[in-house]
Structures are given as C-alpha cells and as structure tokens.
Symmetry: C2
C-alpha cells in the first residue's frame, strides 16, 4: 500500500528546490506525522520523539532515539531511520555532512531558543547557512486530500455518536465534571484515541466563559448546558459545540439560540474558495450584531481542523488569507453574557469548489 | 495561609540581584506554577496560559489573557495580574517600561525561536538587554522541601493503590488498551488529576519497546506484562513500573527479572549526596552488564520527579551533576530483547543526608 506521504514529500521537495533550500529540519510533531506517517507524539517540546531531515532531493531521514526506533521503522518506510546515541544534534550534523547541505531551514514556530543556540553553533562550525522558516508544512496541511476528508468525516461521526449517547443521560443533579468525564470515557470506549482538547461542559452562567473548565457545579432544572467536545480518531480531530436546556427552554433562550444559529448559517453560506477568513467572520458577526449581540461575541469565528485541532486557516477579523477548496474549518459563533450564560454552536465545514459542505449530521436542539 | 511561593520568590530575587539581572520572564509552565501557585497548563508551547515577570526587587506580575484572569487572580495572590488585550508581548513591553528594566532574562529552554525573534525586536527598540537563561528555576525545583516530599509520597501511594486495584483484575483475554484505560479511569475515580504521562501497558514482545504505546493485542496465558504508570495528585507526579507474568513465570523470566531487580537495588544503594548521576547509572548498569544484558539496557537509569514527571536531575551516563539531599529520582533499569520482550522495574527515591529513602511500598512480583 502506498500512503499519502510519498506525494507530500514530493511536493515539499519541489518547494525546497524552488526556494533554493537544501534541506528542511521538521520538529513540529503534526508536521512530522503528516510527512512521514510516524505517529509518536512529543511529551512536550522539551522531549521530542525525533526530527525529520528532508533534503531538497533524495531520500529523507528520521532522527530519533532508541526508545522509538522500532516504531519509526514500522511507520515511516519512506525514511532512513537514524538512531542517535549522542544526541539528535550530533546525528543531524553528521547527516548534514553526508548530504553535503549548504543551507538548512528549521521550523521557527516549533523550535526552542536553546536548541537554536546549539544548532547555530554547529552550523557556524560547518559553514552551514540556517533559515528560520514558518508555516511551510502547515500550509500544505491546510488543504486536505480525499482520504483526509474521509477521516475527518469519520472522526466527526464518532464524536456525534459519543455526544448523542451521553446527551440522552443528562439530567438535573449531574455535575459538569461528571458529564465531561462520561464524554471522555465514552470516546475511549467507542474507539477514539482520546479527546482532541479538554472537553468543555458548562452550566448556566459558567457558560459565559468561552473556555470554561468543568467544575463540580450541579445542573438545575431549566439551566442551559454548553458542551464543546472533540476526539481523535485515526489521527484526525473533530470539534463540535451544542448548547441546550435541561428541560423546556424559555423564550429568551430560544431567541438567543436562533441568533447564534443564524450566525452559524450565515458563516457557512459565506464560505467558498477565494473568500478571506475575515469576510466569513464578518458575515456571521453581522447577524449577531443585528440581533443586538455584537459585543457579546468576543472570539474569532473558527479555525482549521486536521491532524491538529487548531490549525490553518483562521476565520477571524484578522484572517487575511483566502480560503481554498479542501480546507476544513469550524464555524462556531457564540454569545456570552456574564449574568446569564452563553450559547455557542459549532459545526465543521469542508470548503468545496462550489461552496461549503457541512460535515456534521447531528441536529440536537437545532430545531428551536 | 502563607504558601511556599513567598520563599521561592525571595530566593529567586536574591539570585537575580546577585547576577545583576533586572528581571526574569518565566514561560515554562511548571516554573510558573512553582513560583506563583497559578495552575493553568499550556495547551502546548504554542498556546501559553501566560508569563511571569519577576523583577529583581518588588512585586512580580503575571501576564495572561481574559480566559485566565479569574483563575490567575484566585491562585496567585503574590502577583499583580495583567490581562493582555493586544498580545503578551505588548503587555510585557509596557511592564518592562513601568519597571524600568535594563536587562531581561528569559527561559531559553522553553521559549520558541519565533517568539524570541519578536522579543529581540522589541528589546532592540527599547535598549533592553536580553539574556538567554537556562535552568534557574529548574535548579530550585530539583530540591524538594518537606511539604513537597509529602506530596510526592501521597502521589506515589495513590498510584500504587490504583496499580494494585487494576492488577487484581488482569487476566488473559484483556487487551493492552483495555488495561491502560482501566488504569487511567481508576486514577480519576480515586481522585487523581490525571495520568502524569501516557500509561504504558505492553505484553510479550511489545515490551521490547521502552516507550510502547498500548495496542489491541490480547494477553495470552504465560505472557509477560510491563506496566509503567504515574499520576498527578495535588500537582505532584508519581512514576512506577512493574513487570510480571500472567500465570507462572518460567526460569528465563525469573532470571532476567532478578537481573533487573539487582540493577535497581545497586542503583538505589549507590544514591547519596555528592555522587553524580553517571556514577549511580554505572552502578546499576554494571549489574546488567555482568548478567550479560549490558547492551539490552539502552536508556538512562532515571530522572527527577516533582511538579513535572521528568525534571532535574538525570541519572544517565551523561549525568555529571552531583546529587543533593532533597532530590527525588526514579531508578528504572530495564532490559529489552526484540524477539522476547522487556522487563523494567521502577521505584521513586528521595536522596537523604544518609543515602536514599525509597518512596514506594508496593512489592508486587518483587519476590521472584
């Protein structure tokens, strides 16, 4: 079986040749996985599971230590695996010499300053020119191929199955933590690798914090419940938000829920190739502003999703880049009122040649 | 109640004055928590929950964004909380001006190169001298006070309780993932904040990978089981490894298990103030080498544990620093044979004035 990595490497190497860079050192774990198939995560940036060295031509190398050699060999057949014994930098230096590199780019957005100082010293001693790069692989990752779209659909379908299963059990007397734990458990039981971010479950006024952390607060009859959840399945993330009421919603909730739903639909309708993230954000924001909630929507409209749960592109007032077919973004408008609570709704959307395809199928409480 | 943070800040400020540094920018999340009490974690280094700015004299500042303001105010009473609206760097610049800093140190080991480029630009425009620092707070953290030792004992006791509870349920037919999930669930149910690292459960040949990731492999009668697990409890980590057999161990397993146990004991016996990490590593490694498994032990002997599960000091062939009383380290020798499997045993040890105090009490399968 030929994986998608061959094609990705070819394209990256073309970019390197065009930009006259002899090699790219890949340290960002999602980029590493995307290009190689090697799935080991970093345990924080200070404990890397390895680097890729992708030369402008020829076979790339995966540098790691003995803890990961077998996994790397099994998962990254397109790479020569080098097991370092005296540190990654020593092995990198040797490999740069073997490949006779004159210029080496590194990922400035995921490279520690201390590691840079060591790399710089090595480079100086060898006459190697360093280039701080930003977003080279991230830009590729933003456009998904058919296989990736299918994996994102499956991740979303599983996420919805988990949501619906737990949703049916929710009743007054349960705590935010209890529901969050039930969601994360059900994710695992249903086959997910784990949550794609810290699950948010917030009741009533707690939902006025966009990034609420679940507490021991107990659900009261008639209170609103905001749930923002996602999981990782076959390496791909999902992300969905629903807000509903434990019992019968009052007219205020219904009106505000409709305003947020209207904003979500306006955002989705605006999505098409060529539009900027800021323009999509504005289309959704406009609906909330007209409903009188412009200042109650304090965050950007959405973000790309793929191997990482937050990636390019960004849909926000500062999103100057144009959307392209194959991108996958969340659309998640919200309104937050400190004395009352918050409502956020979030679906994932594929940018298509024609416009937008909504990945989500769940319609829980979208009928108010 | 006076927390330990006052004393820690005092000592750090003394160091800054002695080294003629006007302020330290603290970005490393464990250092941030250690000095301030503020517990918010980073969601990866690219999504920080804030920075501390500790001046050589006077009141320190915690810079964060609106998501974390309330939490910071509640948890870090010794700090002025500044909520940034236009980015942390802008707020930092303003605060450096307010405090009239001439030199600013930053944590080179936990500061992205891309962020450094922005910081450098700001510093140049203000005539501020930057100093790349390494390990200033980590060095303090390596020596635990009595309260911290007690928290580490409690974390270990809870970890052992979880281990023993799940150990009793293990039988052929269960998968690695199933057991790992049961461990992590039991941790949460028994009151832990969560695992301190990705739980390792590996059967048979899978255990030949020191950092095995749990799979769907099903346990067969007579197979060996390696479990490496830890949890976070009141902010402090535990870390323990046991290897046993599902059924009756054969003589090969017993012999190899004894060799690893002998290495662990030799390591623990060597521990005392003044010895280097390399010397402790050598004492343990020698036992495995003499038993014919020198090349089968490919990693270092251990590492410090505290707020972080991996911290200073390191016990490895490259550990040149001397141990000091109050340090807490793991001792975890292992042997790994690709065609057979692996055995690792790990306890946590306090370096005392007299030598070593083993924190662990669990003796599961240490009687072979």
């Amino acid at each position: 079986m030929v994986g998608p990595e061959r094609n990705r490497l070819d394209r990256l190497q073309q970019t390197l040749r065009r930009r006259k860079i002899d090699g790219l050192l890949v340290s960002q774990p999602h980029n590493r996985r995307y290009l190689s198939g090697y799935t080991a995560p970093d345990h924080g940036i200070q404990e890397t599971a390895g680097f890729l060295l992708v030369p402008a031509s020829g076979r790339p190398t995966l540098l790691t230590d003995s803890r990961f050699t077998l996994q790397a060999e099994a998962e990254a057949p397109l790479f020569d695996i080098i097991t370092t014994t005296r540190g990654l930098l020593k092995s990198l230096e040797k490999q740069c010499r073997t490949l006779d590199l004159k210029t080496l780019a590194f990922e400035s957005d995921y490279f520690l300053h201390a590691a840079y100082l060591r790399l710089e010293k090595m480079a100086k001693s060898r006459g190697l020119v360093l280039k701080a790069e930003s977003g080279m692989v991230e830009k590729m990752r933003a456009i998904k191929d058919e296989r990736e779209l299918e994996l994102l659909r499956r991740s979303t379908a599983l996420n919805e199955k988990v949501f619906q299963s737990v949703y049916q059990t929710i009743e007054p007397g349960m705590s935010e933590r209890e529901i969050a734990l039930a969601l994360e458990l059900t994710m695992r039981e249903m086959g997910a690798e784990g949550p794609s971010f810290d699950t948010i479950v917030a009741f009533g006024t707690n939902a006025a914090r966009p990034h609420a952390v679940p507490t021991d607060r107990v659900l009261q009859p008639g209170e609103l419940v905001l749930m923002d959840m996602g999981l990782i399945h076959n390496g791909y993330c999902s992300d969905m938000t629903r807000t509903f009421v434990a019992g019968k919603p009052d007219q205020t909730f219904i009106d505000r829920h409709r305003a947020v739903r209207g904003a979500m639909l306006a955002g989705i309708n605006a999505i098409r190739p060529g539009i900027t993230g800021a323009e999509v954000d504005r289309a959704a924001r406009q609906v909330l502003t007209e409903a009188g909630y412009g200042t109650a929507f304090g965050h950007g409209l959405g973000h790309g999703v793929g191997i990482a749960v937050h990636e390019d592109p960004r849909l926000s007032p500062r999103g100057t880049k144009q959307l392209q077919a194959g991108m996958v973004v969340t659309v998640e408008p919200g309104l937050y009122l400190a004395d009352w609570g918050g409502i956020r709704l979030e679906n994932m959307v594929i940018v298509t040649e024609e416009g937008a395809e909504v990945i989500n199928r769940d319609t829980t409480c979208l009928d108010l």
